[in-house]
């Protein structure tokens, strides 16, 4: 390339192209700003959808292959399997309530205030409550002593 030609090209390069106007730049900024916002939402939606899909696939695989196998009860005579491995009992234990002992004492007249006489009665009892689970052959028994005082209001004349 000759020097003349280079000089001519340099003279052309010295001409500076006009810049974009501010409204044009603003318009581009508006469109690209909206685009990046929309892209962010779209990306989040895709991630959420992927997470849901993975969760569904995971749950399906877990229910099919991942759940621990159900243990058969040990049928060998003389062995006792732990209660932890046993399934929860389906039957409801039978409840039985029995009053073993009961006595009532009349302890006379008392005054809650000078114008209000009452008859004081003391009631003492012993109660036994038992549950029985016929399926597992389990018994549970609780003995409950009770004592209560009852005040019965009296008519005054």
């Amino acid at each position: 390339m000759s020097d003349d030609l280079e000089q001519f090209e340099d003279a052309l390069r010295s001409l500076v192209p006009r810049p974009l106007s501010e409204p044009a730049r603003d318009a581009i900024q508006k469109r690209l700003g909206r685009a990046s916002w929309w892209r962010t939402i779209r990306r989040m939606a895709v991630i959420a959808a992927a997470a849901c899909l993975l969760a569904v696939i995971g749950a399906t695989l877990w229910s099919k292959y991942g759940a621990p196998p159900k243990e058969e009860p040990d049928k060998t005579p003389g062995t006792v399997s732990s209660t932890r491995d046993r399934p929860a009992p389906q039957s409801v234990p039978t409840k039985y309530r029995e009053t073993v002992y009961e006595q009532v004492w009349d302890e006379g007249t008392v005054f809650l205030d000078p114008t209000m006489p009452c008859r004081k009665v003391r009631r003492s009892s012993l109660e036994r409550v038992s549950w029985r689970d016929p399926e597992r052959g389990v018994n549970m028994e609780v003995v409950v002593p009770r004592e209560e005082i009852v005040l019965i209001g009296m008519e005054t004349y």
């Binding site: 030609l5 000089q7 001519f8 090209e9 003279a11 052309l12 390069r13 010295s14 001409l15 500076v16 192209p17 006009r18 810049p19 974009l20 106007s21 044009a24 730049r25 318009a27 581009i28 900024q29 469109r31 690209l32 685009a35 990046s36 962010t40």
Partner: protein
């Protein structure tokens, strides 16, 4: 996404905006129409993610060319379809800015460039002001690098003849 990355396009627009506008004006004489074309092309280019490609400059000018040709096609359809269509774009606004003492050269150069055939104008602008190499010009215009070089030589020769040594 960090702000610097989000605003990366601004750096691109600062560097290439004037060059893209000049390139677009080789297709449409109106500055306003050329700006509209640059807007459309730049937004499409950026959304496509081509700025991450191996040769983003050529792709960017290619987008402007595509947008300009599309604009011209739409304009022709519009003018054919409606006899009351607005008149075709008129030449408005200078293509270049610069010092006042070079105003005469600027005006003469613009006039000479406008007289060049369109295919030579494209190559001239991409080479001189776009800063593209011949292979890049070839990629942007979908022509071979040799064709680009040949068109550039013709364009420079015609410009020199038109402007003459005295106008430099």
């Amino acid at each position: 996404m960090p702000d610097s990355e989000r605003d990366y396009w601004k750096a691109w627009l600062d560097e290439y905006g004037p060059k893209l506008l000049l390139f677009a004006r080789q297709f449409v004489p109106s500055a306003a129409d050329a700006e509209e074309i640059v807007q459309e092309a730049f937004v499409r280019f950026w959304r496509s993610g081509r700025y991450k490609s191996s040769n983003p400059k050529a792709a960017l000018f290619g987008y402007v060319r595509w947008a300009a040709l599309d604009w011209l096609r739409r304009q022709k359809r519009y003018e054919r379809a409606d006899s009351l269509a607005p008149p075709a774009s008129v030449v408005d606004g200078a293509m270049f800015t610069g010092e006042l003492e070079r105003e005469e050269f600027r005006a003469a150069a613009e006039e000479a460039i406008r007289k060049l055939p369109a295919d030579q104008r494209e190559v001239l602008v991409l080479k001189i002001w776009g800063g593209l190499s011949y292979p890049e010009i070839g990629e942007a215009l979908d022509i071979s690098p040799n064709t680009a070089a040949s068109r550039f030589r013709y364009a420079v020769s015609a410009l020199r003849k038109e402007l003459g040594e005295s106008k430099r």
